[in-house]
């Protein structure tokens, strides 16, 4: 069985968030990019969990080849981490431009899956922590004409099909999907494993296959940008918080409860 995991490199979302909480998140002169060059780039967390989902299938005894592919301006660095985690093949599709239209990303990924021999299972993180859009997996599934299962916390193989436990607002749901299928993974899957020292060393010797977008024979329609980021800004949140006063925790608490009762919010 062939599994292809699609991964994206993003700015460390926790670092971005810390800058935001401190009120220091800024947009540069191009009006689009975040200025903080100190923020590290790393593999999107949900995509790491997608790699983990693939590795768990292998651990469960499924005979599979795990390929990891990344599209981006400089994907090779990101891909090495996938190798260290345990991928059998790693591929990178360098894409000119810092933020490609995700329709193009999806077209490149679908073309890669087709041209590299197809896949029984395509795994993706549920969304990227930078744009949060989460549309690439759906666009890929439609391009390949295969079904999509979202928000998986567990993926198992049963015969030639997959049994997937999904996170839904009403709790866990279990579905069965035939191969081939695109599955997106959510953080409820749990902690991804850390690469072992031995794997990290072995990964250094793994060369990613670099595939130029031209080699993937995209149509003019695939290449035409459709949704283009024009600018990015940090929204200002106007606060008007009334801080309650009291000398002791008991006083503060009584003041708050009294106020909430007065406002009719609690009985």
């Amino acid at each position: 069985m062939r599994i292809v995991v699609c991964v994206k490199e993003v700015l460390d979302p926790d670092a971005v968030n810390n800058y935001a909480l401190a009120g220091h998140l800024e947009i540069g002169e191009d009006g689009k990019s975040l200025t903080q060059t100190a923020i590290p780039r790393l593999m999107n967390g949900f995509d790491e969990q997608a790699v983990e989902a693939a590795l768990r299938l292998r651990d469960a005894g499924v005979e599979c080849q795990i390929g990891v592919v990344s599209v981006g301006p400089d994907p090779a660095a990101n891909i090495k981490h996938a190798a260290a985690l345990g991928a059998d093949q790693i591929a990178a599709v360098p894409n000119a431009g810092p933020s490609p239209d995700y329709h193009l990303v999806a077209a490149l990924l679908a073309a890669y899956v087709r041209s590299s021999g197809g896949a029984d299972l395509v795994l993706c993180g549920r969304q990227a922590s930078d744009d949060d859009q989460g549309v690439v997996p759906a666009l890929v599934c439609e391009a390949l004409g295969i079904p999509l299962v979202t928000n998986a916390r567990a993926v198992e193989q049963v015969g030639t099909a997959f049994r997937i436990t999904r996170v839904t607002p009403d709790g866990d749901e279990v579905v069965e999907a035939p191969a081939p299928v695109v599955v997106t993974v959510s953080n409820e899957l749990g902690e991804p494993r850390y690469p072992t020292a031995a794997r990290k060393i072995a990964a250094r010797r793994m060369k990613p296959e670099i595939i130029s977008p031209e080699a993937l024979s995209l149509t003019d329609e695939d290449l035409r940008p459709r949704v283009v980021a024009q600018r990015q800004f940090v929204p200002t949140v106007q606060g008007s918080c009334e801080f309650l006063s009291g000398e002791t925790p008991a006083e503060l608490s009584q003041a708050l409860v009294a106020r909430l009762r007065q406002d009719g919010l609690i009985s």
């Binding site: 935001a20 999806a106 949060d132 279990v174 940090v234 918080c241 309650l244 008991a250 409860v257």
Partner: protein, 327 residues
């Protein structure tokens, strides 16, 4: 392009039930349709909500189209995408607006893929730009930033509108008198490829519907202290929620996670204890009527969103709050 209408798509869960976010989507749709000088259509999958035509008139809808088919019962993504795609291929809307829900997060981008349309999720606004092309503003980085996307190059577009991004407003030009048309797409060939083996069993009341929520975060210090959140929630007649970090740590089940990738709640009262106020979390509770925070850091970001704040140690304040609430 000038003759292409604006379309709002909603789905009714059960006969009569109003669709979450429908009025917000219709408000945005009316605004755009008026800016562009085109018609506003409302496509309902499933039965019309109670008072649906009246709602449609109030929000300035020009046409109501309804698709009812047993294949659309329950969550049937393949049938839904097929029905929507067939309709859009026939009617060619410039823009299809969905309310963002876990279901539309799957259906909207699949529809776009099927149609060769552009798609933007987490949308907070759509306007007509200076050059006549649509511009969609969406949140990014968990809500820390907003990105403005230009929508041009594709024949049509799909957007999913985030909950509470738009305030519902009746049509400024007064009500319309739309007619309702029933559409019957041919879904006979559709068989859902994904089969549900075990349905989710919703255990008890849902956070999304709770009127009062008390949530805890890292400021609680350790997992045992989460019981203070549960006790306070109970004392206030509400439900207990959590921020993502403590869910990831395993202190609490993921079903209680409030946030961008968890539950989007809209209670009358949201009390956050030991939560920093990261955008990712606020995305799940900023629609609350009143937000109250308890945090030891007077500069914590969460206080920017609050109506009332208490600066102090959660572990000292919460037991006192429980006591006061029980009196």
């Amino acid at each position: 392009m000038s003759s292409k209408r604006i379309l709002v798509c909603t789905r009714s869960e059960s006969a009569g039930a109003p669709s979450v976010g429908a009025e917000e989507a219709l408000t945005l749709g009316r605004r755009l349709a008026s800016s562009l000088g085109v018609r506003l259509s409302w496509l309902v999958l499933g039965p019309l909500p109670d008072g649906g035509l009246e709602t449609a008139g109030r929000f300035g809808v020009d046409d109501v189209d309804q698709i009812e088919d047993p294949r659309l019962d329950g969550f049937s993504p393949d049938a839904s995408v097929e029905a929507l795609a067939a309709y859009c291929q026939q009617e060619s809307p410039a823009l299809a607006i969905f309310s963002q829900t876990p279901d539309t997060r799957l259906v909207a981008p699949r529809l776009a893929g099927r149609l060769g349309a552009g798609v933007v999720m987490n949308t907070v606004d759509v306007v007509v730009g200076a050059d006549g092309a649509l511009e969609a503003t969406a949140s990014a980085y968990g809500g820390d930033t907003r990105v403005v996307y230009q929508l041009s190059g594709a024949p049509s577009y799909v957007v999913a509108l985030s909950a509470s991004a738009v305030s519902p407003e009746p049509a400024p030009d007064g009500p319309t008198s739309p007619e309702c048309r029933t559409i019957s797409p041919d879904l006979a060939a559709i068989e859902e490829r994904v089969r549900v083996i075990e349905h989710a069993r919703s255990e008890g009341p849902r956070l999304e519907e709770a009127d009062v929520i008390v949530s805890g975060g890292r400021g609680l210090g350790s997992p045992e202290n989460y019981k203070l959140i549960e006790q306070l929630a109970e004392a206030l007649g509400g439900l207990a929620g959590a921020s993502r970090p403590i869910v990831d740590e395993g202190w609490v089940d993921s079903s209680q996670q409030v946030g961008l990738t968890g539950k989007i709640t809209r209670p009358t009262l949201y009390l956050a204890a030991g939560i920093s106020g990261a955008s990712q979390h606020m995305a799940g509770c900023s629609a609350a009527g009143t937000i109250v925070a308890i945090n030891r850091d007077p500069d914590a970001a969460i206080f920017r969103y609050c109506r009332y704040g208490v600066v102090g140690d959660c572990l000292e304040i919460l037991p006192e709050l429980i006591r006061a609430a029980r009196q």
